[in-house]
Symmetry: C2
Subunit: 299 residues, 2 copies
């Protein structure tokens, strides 16, 4: 759990990082804020980003990986600190941060996908998060692009998340290792498929390993195919790609170049928008949470 | 080309239908309006629905099947009749009509897909067409759901349009005929695959032919898979399905029931919205065009 004091320009003034307790999401959030306040920060509103579906009232309605206890995380945090609290899905918050303080350039509509363990996403229209009827919009990771594709954690096959997330890169890296056991992925992991992470594949690719580079390019092509569908559906002015998978600037081009080509190949009668890498990295969620909390205070 | 005089309640007062000249789209539109005016209708604004991409200024920017000559169809029609003219994509207009006068019930966001020769679509937010950055949003038919699927007219494989349009049903019907040459599809078409249309498959299904019913159910399941992705992405309050494929109420359930099941099976941690059949049929585009033209007059 990361917590930060953020000023009105989106700059982080102070940051604390604590271990995540999957069983006590809300308690972890409260403990992190306490730690931050103990350091002497002057805080006027609190924004909380959660790895969960959040409804239109800011309540957690479905959280696949963490338990937040009561769904109204905002009320629990607000009761503790006596401050206004905004709660949203971390992908929505990262997109808001990029729009206001990152690479978003006020583009509208702006589509953002975050590639990490999973694939998160958000659509901003005139800088506002498009929420849909229940607050659950923007889950682009579970759109199926290949019905015969690999199994996804959600139970379907061939979801974008199963083809272009960090988890997918790890799986494809392990598959590549089984084909080329003497390659760099094999040497770095000691031949143990469970040790092949997205980061390890990226390290191997950075060292010039062809099969690792191929894996990342494949993930990029799948991403591009998904993006083509999203461009047909949503016609965004700009696409921003964030998340751990593109945390390294040089390496991100290994993914983004094939993604751009595959996206354009998938479009008929139109050019796709620019596809650019997010700028705010892991801090995007916190900066977006702060921005949303500040809006709340003003409202 | 159909033209109609429509009142402010969305009721058609007078309608004329003329043959389409694919080489002279705009001239066909003008001729139809002239015919309508000659019948004595009092018209105060004109709405034109086109089977084409329309940009934010109402200009035709890409038209795969018809030629409209100059892109500014609205200016050409307006110059001829001296009336305000609204121009939009027919799927957007059909959705607007259903929202205002059909089954839309003011649902927001409302997602509509029209299944005919192709698959058109539109997203309405608070009753307004979501247009995207260039006016080209809502092309849900070319989202790829099955990379190893059948070839689509667009050049890709496995687009939703290649799996659940009327054209797709015809193709799957011809394939079913080749497996069961003695079935009803074969008898109705005289065994000629080029005579197997979507309507013919629907007729065979209506007569109880199992392989025809199977084809329509398969198209419905593909549709449902695509809808699941769109629900994840857009979280609509209501999904409306229109177009020739669902023109018959009883038969439409053969498609929509499997679509609803497949959609729900494809969703994790949420329930999908209602999926209902459009009410205004082939007239939806004209009624929506009239509504948009009336808005123009008021503005």
């Amino acid at each position: 759990v990361s917590a930060a004091a953020v000023d009105s320009s989106g700059r982080i003034k102070k940051k604390v990082v604590s271990p995540t307790d999957p069983e006590a999401g809300t308690a972890s959030v409260i403990a992190s804020v306490e730690k931050l306040l103990a350091s002497g920060c002057d805080v006027t509103a609190i924004g909380v980003g959660v790895a969960a579906f959040v409804d239109l009232d800011g309540k957690v309605v479905f959280s696949p990986n963490l338990s937040y206890g009561e769904p109204d995380v905002g009320r629990a945090v607000g009761a503790k600190f006596g401050l206004p609290v905004a709660v949203d899905n971390d992908a929505n918050l990262a997109a808001l941060a990029e729009f206001r303080f990152g690479v978003g350039r006020q583009a509208s509509p702006m589509l953002m996908l975050t590639l990490g363990t999973g694939v998160g996403g958000a659509l901003l229209i005139d800088g506002e998060v498009y929420r849909g009827a229940n607050g659950l919009a923007g889950e682009f990771g579970h759109m199926v692009v290949s019905t015969n594709g690999p199994a996804c954690a959600c139970g379907k096959k061939g979801c974008l998340e199963a083809l272009s997330s960090g988890t997918a890169i790890a799986r494809m890296g392990a598959e590549a290792m089984s084909r080329y056991p003497d390659g760099l992925i094999g040497r770095l992991s000691g031949g143990d498929p469970s040790k092949v992470s997205g980061e390890l594949v990226a390290d191997a690719a950075a060292s010039g390993d062809d099969s690792a580079r191929q894996v990342i390019a494949d993930a990029g092509r799948w991403l591009g195919l998904g993006l083509a569908g999203l461009v047909d559906a949503l016609d965004p002015a700009l696409i921003v790609i964030g998340g751990g998978v593109v945390s390294d600037g040089d390496m991100s081009q290994l993914l983004l170049e094939p993604a751009r080509s595959a996206m354009q190949d998938g479009l008929v009668g139109r050019s796709g928008p620019e596809v650019i890498r997010a700028r705010l990295g892991n801090d995007a969620g916190m900066i977006g949470a702060a921005a949303m909390a500040a809006d709340l205070k003003r409202a």
